[in-house]
């Protein structure tokens, strides 16, 4: 069921259809010549409601990490009231080991812009901000130019082919972030956009009701929006021929993973990079067939499915099928961004857990005590274990602290702490032997055991 024709990477040479060395930015003219903006033109002739219905019927799930259905998110918007409504495009891409959106931004920016425009038309959003992380310098320059081309060619502005939206000319602007992982969280992104520190907001209200500047706002990931043009052009049924459907006979409330997705692989493989494939692809196939397998002398020990917040897949989960709902099946948080980090057996899992914990303690925004303090403690305990000064009790403490952090245990505002929770717990649990071997065998009675 290998993908015959890439969809998202139609114009971007990628394995196995092309050589990544041949990648270059596609400008407006070339984009149009190769069928670009046809979906936007089609959308302009459609009732906005029907566009939302198409995306809903396609069951297109968000590609930013959480896998929330895009069409459903769009339908949470209240009816237009004449005031401004916003789209914030999440190009913050800061989840460690994630480098997929940048391929689209840098090489086929108009595909992203077309998806943005269609979303604006469908959801009655007049102003869009492309929030791009501060460290993407080349990408920012490329995208600024593409936005200018789009204005010059009446995608946006007074003479926009979309006409007026909410009685205003549709507009798209680039907004540069300034180095803060948390600004990828959707409400932190909005705070940052408003010129404030990136502190996630307590929900509800959800952004669809009260988002940027207190107005209805949609936040979608770059790849999610880049998938929209193909869905609108070819229809929901076509889209659902790709990816992984629900098991036979399962009711429609069971989530499915339709469509193709960008997959990245980094770590000690022969050809690291980003490719496009059907959702449901096996991890082993991704590594061996698309990325050349492990480097000589390196052995697969584990993998992180898509950003460290998802936790780890163990040595015996090499055959895992990568769809949005792998979490329950393989005891991790989910597929996340589908940018896989391969961990070789030459690397210590204690070091990996310590690296993750350091990340969360550094990137916590500091609002919630379990996240701010807990992250720091995880880092300290893991550094201690790594230095050889840990005890068995530390392992219990580690699991206890990690397990108490997050919006799922209900102790924090946002999901950053859930990432710390899952990263640390899954690494410790799936590689318990390594951790046990790293701590001293002195016997301590754990506080969590005696209930202290």
């Amino acid at each position: 069921m290998a993908l015959e024709q890439p969809i998202l990477l139609k114009r971007i040479p990628s394995v196995p259809h092309g050589d990544p060395a041949d990648r270059r930015t596609i400008g407006y003219d070339e984009y149009v010549k190769t069928g670009g903006y046809a979906a936007l033109d089609k959308s302009c002739g459609m009732d906005p409601k029907d566009i939302v219905e198409t995306v809903k019927a396609a069951e297109l799930r968000g590609r930013g990490g959480a896998g929330f259905p895009a069409g459903m998110k769009w339908s949470f918007l209240p009816p237009p009231d004449g005031g401004q409504r916003f789209l914030a495009i999440n190009a913050d891409e800061s989840e460690p080991a994630t480098f997929k959106d940048q391929v689209l931004i840098r090489y086929d920016p108009h595909l992203v812009i077309e998806g943005i425009a269609i979303c604006m038309k469908a959801c009655h959003l007049d102003t869009a901000y492309f929030y791009i992380r501060g460290e993407y310098h080349i990408h920012r320059e490329v995208f600024e130019r593409a936005i200018q081309e789009a204005w010059d060619n009446d995608v946006f502005g007074d003479n926009s082919r979309m006409g007026k939206i909410n009685d205003r000319p549709p507009r798209l602007f680039l907004q540069r972030g300034a180095g803060a992982y948390i600004c990828g969280e959707e409400t932190a992104l909005l705070e940052s956009l408003e010129g404030k520190r990136g502190w996630p907001r307590i929900k509800p209200p959800f952004p669809a009701v009260a988002g940027a500047f207190g107005r209805p706002t949609i936040i979608n990931n770059v790849e999610t929006l880049a998938t929209v043009p193909a869905v609108v052009e070819n229809g929901a049924d076509w889209f659902k021929t790709f990816g992984k459907g629900r098991p036979e006979g399962a009711p429609p409330q069971v989530p499915a993973s339709f469509g193709t997705k960008l997959f990245g692989v980094s770590g000690p493989v022969k050809k690291p990079g980003v490719i496009e494939e059907n959702l449901g692809l096996k991890l082993s196939t991704l590594i061996e067939d698309y990325h050349g397998g492990m480097l000589p002398g390196q052995k697969f020990k584990g993998a992180i499915p898509g950003g460290i917040s998802m936790g780890v897949l163990g040595t015996d989960q090499y055959e895992a099928e990568l769809d949005f709902d792998i979490g329950k099946k393989y005891a991790c948080l989910g597929l996340g961004t589908a940018c896989v980090t391969v961990i070789p057996d030459s690397v210590s899992m204690v070091a990996m857990a310590r690296n993750c914990a350091r990340f969360y303690s550094h990137e916590s925004c500091g609002q919630c005590t379990p996240c701010r303090e807990g992250g720091n403690w995880l880092y300290k305990i893991l550094s201690r274990i790594e230095a050889g000064d840990g005890t068995t009790k530390d392992l219990d403490l580690l699991l206890e602290v990690a397990g108490s952090m997050g919006s799922m245990p209900g102790t924090t505002i946002c999901g950053l702490a859930d990432g710390a929770n899952w990263a640390v717990r899954t690494i410790v649990n799936k590689f318990w032997d390594e951790f046990e071997a790293a701590v001293s065998k002195e016997r301590f009675v754990s506080l969590s055991v005696v209930g202290g």
Partner: protein, 174 residues
């Protein structure tokens, strides 16, 4: 980021006659940026970037001037400026070297790179060389994991670095 300790409010602020936020930037912002948003505060981060692009860091006086331009209290703009890793509230080197320390780069050997750079430059991460040329920083994943381990030198990305070739990223820089 949130943990950058602010200097005390009683700290003397060095001032100079000439404003950091010059008329050219002001005019550009009035025309290009302010109309993008429903309020002026939203132009804070782009404005701080513009000032830092020009002066390489954000002196307190510049923060005050930005606040004045945006119609905000200086403390509000300072609050935002201190939150973000890219904003420097102290002078830094002409070149900032950001070495990625996240997971894929650690697997591929970033620790040795930082050690080597520290040795060559004679500074630890977070410090600036005495001649004011280089500041060495750790950074979290910069989205170039396929080329791990990697580093940014100002806006320039360098991928697939090794202990042997890492010095070349600073060679030829003045």
């Amino acid at each position: 980021m949130a943990w950058i300790t602010k200097n005390s409010g009683t700290m003397p602020i060095e001032r100079r006659e000439e404003p950091y936020l010059n008329d050219a930037i002001k005019q550009h912002f009035e025309e290009e940026y302010i109309p993008r948003y429903p309020n002026r505060q939203a132009a804070t981060i782009p404005l701080l970037h513009a000032i830092q692009d020009e002066h390489n860091w954000l002196p307190f006086q510049a923060i005050e001037e930005a606040a004045d331009f945006l119609g905000l209290p200086a403390s509000t703009v300072l609050d935002t400026a201190t939150f973000y890793e890219e904003f420097f509230l102290q002078p830094r080197g002409k070149y900032t070297i950001w070495v990625c320390q996240s997971i894929s780069c650690e697997i591929m050997g970033n620790v040795q790179l930082v050690d080597r750079l520290s040795q060559v430059l004679g500074i630890s991460p977070g410090e600036t060389t005495d001649d004011g040329r280089f500041t060495l920083m750790h950074v979290e994943c910069i989205g170039a994991c396929g080329g791990a381990p990697c580093a940014l030198v100002n806006h320039q990305l360098h991928e697939n670095l090794t202990v042997d070739n890492v010095e070349q990223i600073i060679q030829g820089l003045e």
